[in-house]
């Protein structure tokens, strides 16, 4: 991001504000200091930057006009959905504006026979399922924030959920988008029909963390609700056995909709707060959800039970009805809030490992927890190896947060060492950009930067995110930017 953002004078700001008001009207521009505070961070609350303005466009044309103004004036802009992101993807940029998509919240088209729904980006994830559920359909990606998070945010972060083992994440359910490029051009890519000619830019835009433009319309795929759902619960003496069960189930050819593990620490806090009926002294619990045609689920159920027993499950329960199933899941879904009750502060990590390395990685996390003297609770989407260690700390204690972040970083290193990833669903954003180079070398990052430059040669769209160090755009054919040795040594920064 080579563009230098000097502090703008208040007269410039007033003029810029007038131009924004011309585009979207007075009630679409937030400029009072008090109101701007509500936009100074997302769910990664440790970092806060107040934007100069927040704008609330109502349609793609307005988004385009706003972005054209920004392009002209070299003003960075940050798109924002519901602000539930955990990696600081919607953290404002200094001297930049925030473009909130909250007013673009209409479901534009529900096409049941073709199994498609077209929505604006501000539509809440769960609304999609609500709109199609009378017809027996649902929208599969179900992040735990689904009652508030928006489709636009889901597209940016390529959100997952507890059922993505079988059904995939957001990218597997987005067929096309309309978007405004960082120079204000409106384009449409993909669409309701499949395999359209041209590069799969939709696949590139999903998960691009708001760096490639602002999505203004999204075409989603919906799927039929399964005929049968069975949820199994198993308790264990230790997490290793639960982990072995997970590998054992897939090894037998069964792909459940979801598999979730919680460790003893989590179980205790959940039981103390909501009482999901988990055995409070268990070392770990595993939830397995099977879904599909009744005959398939019936055939898989005994296989799964067998695997659980083989791996020393102490107690096995199968939810008899929807009510029992909801209770089992309620415990899992309350894991984060429950932590809030036993610790004043906690940090949610998000890393991925190959499923088969679960036991060793948990051992290493326990070691790290001891070393740093901080408690770590573990919940994870075990089926796809997505860990969510929760590091508990006390923000009022000096140095606790720093220690926490250091420990959380060590966990990511363990994940990458085992062949995994630094993020499975929360994104890199602001929070993890310094860890991206654990996975990708300079050539890999150059390849990514070439994409960013093709979309955003001025580096105005959500700058300062994702990339570990600032990277400039070069004209095609010129040598790509390489980090200066002084920079590499951490002795200076490139502006």
């Amino acid at each position: 991001m080579a563009t230098q953002h000097k502090t703008k004078s208040s007269s410039w700001k007033n003029k810029f504000r007038e131009r924004l008001i011309e585009i979207i009207g007075k009630d679409g521009v937030i400029s009072s200091e008090d109101e701007l505070l509500a936009y100074d961070c997302d769910a990664l609350t440790g970092y806060r930057i107040k934007p100069i303005f927040v704008v609330l466009p109502s349609n793609a044309k307005q988004v385009s006009q706003i972005i054209k103004e920004c392009y002209l004036e070299n003003i960075p802009f940050v798109p924002r959905g519901a602000g539930t992101g955990l990696s600081g993807g919607a953290l404002p940029t200094d001297e930049g504006i925030v473009i909130s998509l909250s007013r673009m919240n209409k479901i534009l088209d529900v096409d049941i026979p073709n199994q498609r729904v077209v929505v604006e980006p501000g539509v809440v994830n769960l609304w999609v399922t609500n709109a199609v559920s009378p017809y027996g359909y649902y929208y599969a990606p179900d992040p735990s924030s689904q009652i508030v998070c928006t489709i636009g945010g889901n597209v940016a972060e390529n959100s997952g959920g507890v059922h993505c083992l079988k059904y995939g994440v957001t990218t597997n359910h987005v067929l096309g988008v309309e978007m405004v490029l960082p120079d204000g051009e409106i384009i449409e890519i993909g669409g309701k029909t499949l395999d359209r000619p041209g590069y799969d830019l939709t696949g590139l835009v999903v998960g691009s963390e708001g760096l490639l433009g602002i999505v203004t319309k999204v075409t989603l795929k919906i799927i039929k609700k399964p005929e049968a759902v069975k949820t199994l619960f198993a308790s264990y003496d230790n997490v290793e056995d639960a982990g072995a069960s997970v590998s054992g189930i897939t090894a037998r050819g069964v792909i459940p909709a979801g598999m979730e593990i919680m460790d003893s620490f989590c179980i205790k806090s959940v039981e103390e707060t909501i009482g999901a009926g988990y055995p409070i002294d268990a070392g770990a619990i595993l939830l397995v959800e099977l879904d599909g045609p009744s005959a398939e689920v019936e055939a898989q159920l005994p296989i799964v039970e067998e695997v659980l027993k083989e791996n020393k499950a102490i107690q096995i329960k199968i939810a008899k009805n929807a009510k029992e199933r909801d209770l089992l899941w309620k415990g899992r879904k309350s894991a984060f809030p429950a932590m809030g009750r036993i610790s004043s502060d906690y940090y949610v990590q998000d890393g991925v490992i190959p499923r088969s390395k679960l036991a060793e990685v948990l051992g290493e996390i326990a070691e790290l927890s001891k070393k740093y003297g901080l408690r770590v609770a573990n919940v994870f989407h075990a089926g796809d190896g997505n860990l969510h260690p929760l590091v508990l700390y006390d923000a009022s204690k000096e140095g606790d947060l720093d220690k926490t972040l250091e420990l959380a970083g060590e966990i990511l290193k363990v994940c990458v060492d085992k062949g995994g990833s630094i993020t499975g669903e929360h994104g890199v954003g602001h929070d993890k950009k310094r860890f991206l180079s654990l996975m990708f070398d300079d050539n890999d990052l150059d390849a990514m930067n070439l994409i960013r430059c093709a979309f955003d040669n001025k580096g105005l769209c959500n700058p300062g995110k994702l990339f570990p160090t600032p990277r400039t755009c070069v004209e095609p054919g010129m040598k790509p930017f390489k980090e200066h040795p002084v920079q590499k040594a951490g002795m200076g920064e490139m502006y």
Binding site: I112, P113, Q115, E157, G160, G168, V169, E185, I186, I187, E188, G191, T193, L194, D195, R196, G198, Y199, D200, L201, G203, G207, S208, E227, S247, T250, A251, I255, P293, A295, E296, A299, Q300, V352, I353, P354, D384, G385, G419, G420, S421, T423, G424, E425, H426, V428, M439, F440, N443, D444, D446, A447, M448, L450, I451, R452, C453, A454, F455, P476
Partner: protein, 443 residues
């Protein structure tokens, strides 16, 4: 003509025995009457990189080549100096069976890859054509090829979780990862699916896999009216049944395939071929529901399994090459599921008006049509023009996948790529500033 010293340097990278430059042998690498000057078969990824570095320095154009089964795809190349054949990049690198992932070099054939995976009772859920002709993983990914089972599993974009690419300047980069869930950085694997070698040479790929289903059966039903056939399709798609594949064969195709496969269905009608792979009990129960739905809509059919079933699906995947040996004209079109009857009617009408024979197979759950046309050049040209306009008019598209040069001339095989074309060109320019990779064929 390449100058002698450049040729010598290219040959020295891969060695004499991995170099082809004799005219008569180069003919096998003909693309739309454009012949390369040299074919190089690198032994490893580093050699691919060395070739690209030299090509980039000397501004030589490069055509990546797997087994050549889809070399007819794309517009006529502007130029073709070097063909890089991936035939020696055929090593399986790692099969993480307990993690349901595998990494391989991209010159491996899908057949060989599947055989290796099958040892652990797993498979890559892609069933494109040309498996018998050793279609490679790299070629399948680069052309986004798929088959009838995409209904259940999706296409390469769903399985390709990581890759390694040699860029036009010879630099090697990797994208994605080796775990099934990962959102670190841009999802570059997606960009490469269907990029037709224009953004780099895909040399390594990591896929997520599936367990091989225990059992499989297929029900074939014929319908006297297209309306009944479509009614059946919509009922099946709106049901709880989890079908693996669902294919509509038009009467022309149905007639040829029934004969080849002893199907005893009414071959003058539309047929639906419905495959289910699952645990035995789930297959049996679902197939009986399928049968019931077909019968309710006046469909008459037969149940097949085992070798006969396997052969029928192979015929459906490969029909354009099995039925039409010479002067093949092949298109892929995409429409909405609800527009399928209209598309089939229009095809019938165009076939009558232009006196051409058109075989069509439709992935009925996805709206993807495979259309093979036989007839006089002029009639085919006319048919293509009208067919494309029709597809556009209903919000679909038509890509000409294969045709003799006379027919390709003056017909943009891709059609309108839409408002995203500008940004696609910028991506291409950033990755391949001198336009060396497959110039003119795609973006």
């Amino acid at each position: 003509m390449l100058n002698k010293s450049v040729l010598k340097n290219l040959r020295s990278i891969v060695g004499e025995k991995n170099t082809i430059f004799e005219k008569e042998k180069l003919a096998a690498f003909n693309i739309d009457n454009v012949l390369p000057e040299i074919v190089l078969s690198p032994n490893n990824i580093e050699e691919v990189s060395e070739i690209m570095k030299l090509a980039s320095k000397e501004s030589l154009s490069v055509i990546p080549w797997g087994s050549g089964t889809k070399s007819a795809l794309g517009n006529k190349p502007d130029r073709a100096d070097i063909v890089i054949s991936t035939k020696y990049l055929d090593h399986m690198i790692e099969h993480g069976a307990s993690d349901l992932v595998a990494t391989t070099e991209c010159g491996i054939s899908l057949k060989k890859f599947q055989e290796a995976l099958n040892k652990e009772n797993q498979f890559l859920a892609l069933d494109p054509p040309h498996v018998g002709k050793n279609a490679t993983i790299g070629g399948i990914v680069a052309t986004n090829d798929s088959g009838p089972e995409r209904l259940r599993y999706g296409t390469a974009r769903e399985f390709l979780i990581g890759l390694k690419v040699v860029r036009a300047d010879g630099s090697i980069f990797k994208g994605g990862s080796k775990v099934v869930k990962n959102v670190a950085g841009y999802d570059l694997p997606k960009l490469y699916v269907g990029s037709l070698g224009t953004l780099g040479i895909i040399v390594e790929a990591t896929f997520r896999l599936y367990p091989v289903p225990e059992y499989s059966e297929t029900y074939v039903a014929s319908f006297s009216s297209l309306k009944d056939c479509q009614e059946t399709v919509l009922t099946l798609l709106d049901s709880h049944l989890v079908l693996t594949s669902l294919e509509i064969l038009n009467p022309e195709l149905n007639s040829s395939l029934s004969e080849r496969n002893d199907l005893y269905v009414n071959d003058s009608q539309f047929s639906l071929v419905i495959g289910i792979r699952n645990v035995g009990k789930a297959v049996k129960e679902q197939i009986s529901s399928v049968k019931k739905i077909c019968v309710q809509n006046s469909g008459k059919g037969a149940l097949i399994s085992g070798a006969q079933e396997g052969k029928l699906w192979e015929d459906i995947r490969d029909f354009p090459w099995k039925l039409i040996k010479a002067q093949r004209v092949l298109c892929k079109a995409g429409v909405l599921v609800t527009q399928i009857p209209k598309a089939l009617q229009t095809i019938k009408q165009l076939s009558d008006e232009n006196s051409v024979k058109i075989y069509v197979s439709v992935r009925a759950g996805n709206g993807i049509c495979t259309i093979a046309i036989e007839g006089e050049d002029l009639s085919i040209k006319n048919t293509l023009k009208h067919l494309r306009n029709f597809m556009l008019s209903i919000g679909g598209y038509l890509v000409l996948q294969e045709a003799p040069s006379e027919i390709k001339n003056g017909f943009d095989v891709w059609g309108d790529i839409g408002s995203g074309l500008g940004i696609m060109k910028r991506v291409k320019a950033n990755y391949d500033p001198d336009n060396l990779l497959n110039p003119g064929r795609y973006i």
